[in-house]
């Protein structure tokens, strides 16, 4: 548990019914903290449903910049009668709960250790707004007004935010301002404002943006020069293609003819989506597909094909809760093993593990470079927490000198000078062969086949010829270690325990390390950013007696992968697992490590 709440260190949770327009009010509230210069993160816990089910939005305000899930709620805005009891229960002792007092609360719903603040939101909005829709929507804006009074938010920032949102629609700005005032004034008149914890302006968000990982991933695909995107809609990856489409419509239309220099294919299923991506990459375009776990299952046959025939492809797996359909709107990191060895036969894939939207952007670009350099599918594993939640990250930057790494491609001029071309020859002794694109030159023609082939590309069932090719693929895997992003390591010789983690665990791990450090327990940290594991991973393992492997799945998949792919003793890797569908919080890490340390003391 964190020590809060205190100024600039608290968590607000808003319980709504989905489909009632709460999303924009909640986003507004989150942005106000950001624009007041205070680090903030917004997390959405929503149902796999369009209208009528419970949904929550959680805003963590952290002056210290801890942006993982806090695991506590200090201010609950309970707008959903159906979940009221649960929401009340979740509130931390000493916390505050706002409810709509238009209707009386059930007598049984009470807690003596929290403060209950009733605001007649519905009644006030019914009195001030004419249409049914406005009355529903403005209730949400009114509680933002109340929070503004309770937490002493900058009203000027709120006004500015509303103006930016509704720009030319003055009547909407007016309506929203009225609703803000309703909540604000009511709170000022009836409660002690501000609360003991409040917002205090800072200057910690300059040079930063609030962005979700799917949007950042789409930007990465755009900047990498992807021209073909194929996909089948699946939560939580859908907004990758939605964002790519809107960016492409803006930046990829010919200024004169208005023609598109991209193709987006909404496939009939994920099998087709990856087939399209392989076809397009084989033909020299940069192509990608965003998907989630069930899509990876369906794509597996083609992923093995891409591996064996050495065709680049970029797959973005925005992981969700499995197994099977699982919980489509909850987060997990449970596709690690499925992706690492997706498909039958001896198959292995390059994986990338971004930790936040900022890395999604840069790694998406890198994924295309890697896929083409290594001539193989590359799977970037994000998750719902990164992909669909609002993260504060450094402003994205771009080097205009960047040129895509297309890898070893022979064009017509090169082929013209050659006596002959063979697709799978290891000419440079790095296990990466040369490829050609259709239509370039008759000499470049070859036959791509998932069946046994020899180093010349011809069909084979010969034992030696077959083995030559699969052995070279294994050597190519070793070459890949030189190109994949290295892990981020924080190491001090003082510490004997290490933490290995990946992806969206990062913020929780960093916060946990800070808390452990405060308690006198120092840890080293390695964040894996790619598979295959580079030498740094082995060195880190070798340098520690105990290593906690923190990840968000039940079966300790990263740990399994480390045991399979490094030299390491089972007992030294302690699993620290969080897999209930909510993003991991620091307590999950500190509790597990403390428990393990206690065991050590007892023994």
């Amino acid at each position: 548990m964190s020590t809060g709440p205190k100024d600039n260190d608290f968590t607000i949770k808003i319980a709504n019914v989905n489909g009632t327009g709460s999303a924009s009010a909640n986003a507004l509230l989150m942005k106000v903290f950001f624009r007041m210069g205070i680090p903030v993160v917004g997390k959405n816990y929503f149902p796999s449903n369009i209208q009528g089910l419970p949904t929550w939005y959680e805003i963590r305000v952290s002056g210290d910049g801890h942006l993982g899930r806090s695991g506590r709620v200090d201010l609950m805005i309970a707008m959903n009668a159906e979940t009221y009891q649960k929401d009340l229960h979740e509130l931390a002792p000493g916390g505050y709960l706002i409810y709509d007092s238009t209707w009386p609360r059930h007598r049984q719903l009470k807690r003596d250790d929290v403060h209950i603040l009733g605001i007649p939101l519905a009644r006030m909005c019914n009195e001030h707004f004419d249409t049914a829709r406005a009355r529903v929507l403005m209730k949400n804006v009114a509680y933002v007004g109340a929070v503004a009074a309770l937490l002493d938010l900058d009203m000027e920032v709120i006004r500015e935010a509303l103006q930016r949102t509704f720009a030319s629609k003055q009547h909407l700005i007016d309506a929203n301002l009225t609703a803000i005032d309703l909540g604000y004034n009511y709170a000022r008149e009836h409660f002690q404002c501000p609360l003991p914890f409040r917002a205090r302006p800072m200057d910690a968000t300059a040079g930063h943006i609030m962005i979700d990982g799917n949007t950042a991933t789409a930007l990465g695909c755009l900047y990498a020069g992807a021209t073909v995107g194929a996909w089948y809609p699946i939560t939580p990856s859908t907004s990758v293609m939605d964002a790519f489409k809107s960016f492409a419509e803006k930046y990829r239309r010919d200024p004169d003819s208005d023609e598109r220099n991209f193709v987006i294919l909404q496939a009939e299923d994920e099998l087709a989506a990856i087939g399209m991506v392989l076809g397009a990459n084989w033909n020299g375009a940069r192509a990608f597909t965003p998907t989630s776990g069930p899509g990876i299952s369906l794509m597996s046959e083609f992923l093995g094909y891409g591996y064996f025939t050495e065709i680049p492809a970029v797959v973005i797996d925005v992981q969700r809760c499995g197994p099977s359909t699982g919980m489509p709107t909850r987060t997990q990191q449970a596709d690690i093993m499925a992706c690492a060895y997706a498909s039958h036969g001896d198959t292995r894939h390059i994986l990338l593990f971004p930790a936040n939207p900022e890395e999604c952007f840069y790694m998406a670009v890198q994924a295309f470079d890697l896929a083409e350099r290594m001539q193989t599918p590359v799977i970037m594993l994000t998750d719902l927490d990164i992909g669909m939640n609002d993260w504060m990250c450094r402003e994205l930057d771009w080097d205009d000198a960047y040129q895509p790494d297309r890898g070893k491609v022979l064009d017509a001029a090169a082929l013209e000078k050659m006596a002959s071309f063979h697709r799978y020859l290891d000419v440079d002794a790095d296990a990466i062969p040369y490829r050609t694109f259709p239509g370039e030159h008759p000499r470049g023609a070859y036959f791509t086949r998932g069946s046994g082939h020899n180093m010349y590309g011809a069909y084979t069932e010969d034992a030696r010829e077959y083995q030559e090719v699969v052995d070279r693929l294994r050597r190519k895997w070793e070459t890949a270690k030189r190109y994949v992003p290295e892990p981020i390591v924080e190491y001090s010789e003082k510490y004997r325990s290490g933490i290995i983690s990946l992806g969206s665990c990062n913020d929780a791990v960093q916060e946990a390390r800070a808390r452990l450090r405060d308690a006198g327990v120092g840890t080293n940290y390695l964040r894996v950013r790619a598979f295959p594991f580079t030498d740094e991973v082995q060195q880190f393992i070798d340098a520690h007696e105990r290593i906690y492997v923190v990840e968000q799945n039940r079966d300790a998949q990263l740990r399994s992968l480390l045991l399979l792919e490094t030299r390491c003793d089972q007992d030294r890797l302690i699993p620290v697992l969080h897999y209930n569908g909510l993003p991991i919080d620091a307590a999950a890490v500190t509790d597990a490590i403390n428990e393990d340390l206690q065991k050590g003391v007892a023994a």
Binding site: M210, F262, L265, G275, N283, A285, H441, G444, A445
Partner: protein, 351 residues
């Protein structure tokens, strides 16, 4: 698959096409299919058609799925890129390839198992997208490589080699394609090169998805008494409805056709197909009538062949998408990457 190199000996007297190439330049590796396989005749018809169309071999991409039919792209046009994909998934690969470069000729070769069972969904959706490609189904009613199971195109009552009778109704790819809105639907027979070659040529030149369902008997597992996909049965029940002659652009139409029976259709690139009606009351531009005709004759166990349906007016995938004329894989990076300043300004909305 072929792994036997064919000796490259060209007779000096062999005719050359406009590119100076002979038919031999359009051949591929040695076939490893059974002697007498219908598929080898289709292969040779494709070689003939590509030669006659003066196609630069490297400007064609040949794609296939899995099965006997899908092996055949290795046996023609060895100077073309080939893509032998996974079972039933060639349409998606062809769609992606075509998306990347609209400037090549795409020829897909599939079978009845590959297209009508495992790949039925992809087959249908490639038609729906109107991917600009020629799609050949080499249809023999059986799974050859796994030794003779019925496929989804087997007719009710057709007998397997060991006497088992097929009870489930067949899927007719032509009827299905017409119903799905395919703009070029033909059926032919591997044993009728006269009919098949011009159909292949027209199919390649058609703007959009062109389907040719070729009855191509399996000599090993489905050429016996009681089979409805045997050479004998096909010849007995062969019913040419429309004969198509392909006329390249700017060539003079020399053949004489009877008024009322001959029907020229101009293709996208200015070439023409002249359709000669064998059934006088058959109109290959009337979708409903085409389906009705097929239904009627197939009930009578007749195999209707020829160009069954044509509509040159449908926009193909890129026209629908308004894609730039330049192949996407040829666009310079500078035109694809919006650059640093754009990234700066677009991030305003994330503040």
């Amino acid at each position: 698959m072929s792994y036997i190199a064919k000796p490259k000996v060209t007779h000096p007297g062999l005719p050359r096409n406009e590119l100076g190439l002979t038919v031999r330049d359009y051949e591929g590796g040695m076939s490893t299919l059974c002697a007498g396989c219908g598929h080898d005749s289709v292969t040779s018809a494709i070689v003939q058609a590509a030669f006659e169309l003066n196609l630069p071999p490297h400007k064609m991409a040949k794609l296939s799925g899995i099965g006997c039919s899908s092996k055949t792209p290795a046996y023609f046009l060895s100077q073309s890129h080939g893509f032998n994909s996974v079972h039933g998934r060639m349409p998606s690969v062809a769609t992606g390839a075509n998306a990347a470069n609209r400037g090549l000729v795409y020829v897909g070769v599939s079978g009845d198992g590959d297209s009508l069972s495992i790949g039925l969904g992809q087959f249908a959706h490639a038609i729906r997208r109107n991917v600009n490609m020629l799609y050949i189904i080499e249809n023999n009613g059986v799974y050859g490589l796994t030794k003779g199971q019925f496929s989804a195109s087997a007719d009710v009552g057709s007998k397997a080699k060991k006497g088992e009778e097929n009870l489930q109704p067949p899927i007719d790819p032509c009827q299905m394609a017409i119903a799905l809105g395919c703009g070029f639907v033909a059926r032919s027979f591997s044993g009728d090169k006269q009919q098949l070659v011009p159909l292949l040529e027209a199919g390649i030149r058609h703007n959009g998805f062109a389907l040719i369902d070729v009855i191509s008997p399996c000599v090993t597992f489905n050429d016996h008494e009681g089979s409805t996909k045997s050479y004998h049965f096909t010849r007995e029940h062969y019913h040419p409805a429309i004969h198509a002659d392909y006329i390249p652009p700017a060539a003079e139409i020399r053949a004489k056709y009877d008024e009322g029976c001959a029907m020229p259709v101009t293709l996208h690139d200015g070439s023409q197909i002249v359709l000669r009606k064998v059934d006088p009351d058959y109109d290959p531009t009337d979708r409903a009538a085409a389906i009705a005709h097929l239904e009627q004759l197939s009930a009578a166990r007749e195999i209707v062949t020829g160009l069954l349906y044509i509509d040159e007016s449908k926009p193909e995938m890129h026209e629908l998408n308004k894609t730039t004329e330049t192949a996407l894989n040829k666009l310079p990076f500078e035109r694809l990457c919006p650059g640093r300043d754009a990234l700066r300004s677009l991030q305003q909305r994330f503040r």
